[in-house]
Symmetry: C2
Subunit: 236 residues, 2 copies
DNA sequence: GTGGCAGTTCTTGTATGTAAGCAGCGTCGA
DNA sequence: TCGACGCTGCTTACATACAAGAACTGCCAC
């Protein structure tokens, strides 16, 4: 028997909405009416509502009782929180990297880096590879399952990154850093690997900060205020 | 306007169920029928169902479609995951402790420690104080908001601790360690504080491991199997 | 023109009805 | 005695109806 079938309606709705929020297809502030979403997706309000509750717990959506649900704004404080958590977890994992690395996993990581170097790589594909690379690093240390927690917490960080990369287009440098880090790990030079990873994560964060200074309106602080209802109709 | 009114039925049901699961009042394997819970709590199935979904995402409950929902077993792997996450976050926070500590917060921590020394402290109260103490340490470093992520991830750890402390009754040592850690922080000796905290967290974990070796049945691995339906009726 | 008030229309929260499916038990047949 | 089969009762998943409340709209008085 399988648990909570991955093809339940709720799962599909949840994943769809989450993807659209993270990719900014549903931008911060967009209205998420249960009725409209249900109609759009061809399901009833129930699975939509359950998905919105879950996204609310993740901080990606804000639910105002009797008023409406809205995609949460990219909040600078939350971005920093996620950055801290991610750094803490990924660096701590390096302390537990075993002497001999799992060869299959290593091959997978190398293949991943190869793809990151592919010419004309599009942004979404890069993000996918980046996610998978960092997850792989965690798995090397035997803490792969901690990734899900990081993923759940870093929604705001991901959105901020997307805002940043749209402007700076600095994928190349990040790929180089990935190579440097993996090389250090393979060489057994954990201190270098730690330093490299820390610098890498900080660079990503600095990139976000740069964007924030340039376009503060994207990062409007997410207090309790309700967005005006007109800023709506982002759902096709 | 307040967000998601803290007094919504769902919030109450969720918090009630979560507390009962963490305190083992609802023991691992217990059946959680939506209908029974709704009747017991005097609400409809809707808020109960939404709460079970949230608890399912936290890993505290397993939902088997068309079969039933059950309190998840205390899974050794999940306990270890939470331990790793907690250690990573709490230790990383110490790197960001400022030169001058917030005096109000410091006073709060000292008062907390005083209460931990109170004679005849009961177990639940100790857990409360312990939680609050560790959260306070995080706040000292300005990363207080990361605590919620830790809390969400460490449900299994908490249940395992409760199983352990029922047997060993080793509160006293933990309180001493709390004092040592805070003293080191106040003295500005971050390396000592880190070492102390690490040892403290490891001691807690070792305690759990001892319990696990002694009573492995409590830690039955939580595979996909459905508990027998008879192991039920834990709800009064 | 402007402020206040009431109605309308939206929202989410909750309750309940319906559908689909698994498990267990009893029965029947060999 | 034991295995297969179908019925019964339970479960969750989903759909829908109803309730309560917030906010916008337009009218009306001034």
């Amino acid at each position: 028997m399988r648990e909570a079938s991955n093809r339940s309606n709720r799962r599909v709705v949840y994943e769809t909405l989450r993807r659209k929020v993270l990719t900014l297809e549903l931008p911060p502030g967009a209205s998420l009416s249960e009725n409209e979403l249900a109609a759009s997706l061809g399901v009833s309000r129930t699975p939509v509502r359950e998905s919105l509750i879950l996204l609310g717990e993740e901080g990606l959506v804000r639910v105002f009782p009797k008023v409406g649900s809205f995609v949460s704004r990219v909040d600078a404080a939350r971005v920093a929180d996620a950055q801290f958590l991610r750094e803490a977890v990924e660096l701590a994992a390096f302390d537990d990297i075993p002497e001999t690395l799992d060869p299959d996993l290593l091959a997978e990581l190398r293949a991943n880096l190869e793809q990151q170097r592919a010419p004309g790589l599009d942004l979404e594909k890069f993000f996918e590879l980046d996610e998978s690379f960092h997850h792989g690093l965690l798995r090397l240390s035997g803490h792969g399952r901690a990734w899900s927690t990081v993923v759940a917490a870093k929604g705001h960080l991901d959105r901020a990154r997307r805002l940043g990369l749209h402007e700076t287009n600095g994928m190349g440098r990040f790929v180089d850093e990935h190579h440097t880090i993996l090389d250090a790990v393979v060489a057994g030079d954990i201190p270098s690997a730690r330093a490299g990873l820390r610098a890498h994560l900080r660079a990503v964060f600095d990139d976000i900060e740069k964007t924030r200074r340039r376009s503060p309106e994207l990062f409007a602080s997410d207090d309790g205020s309700v967005p005006v209802r007109r800023s709506v109709a982002v759902w096709e």
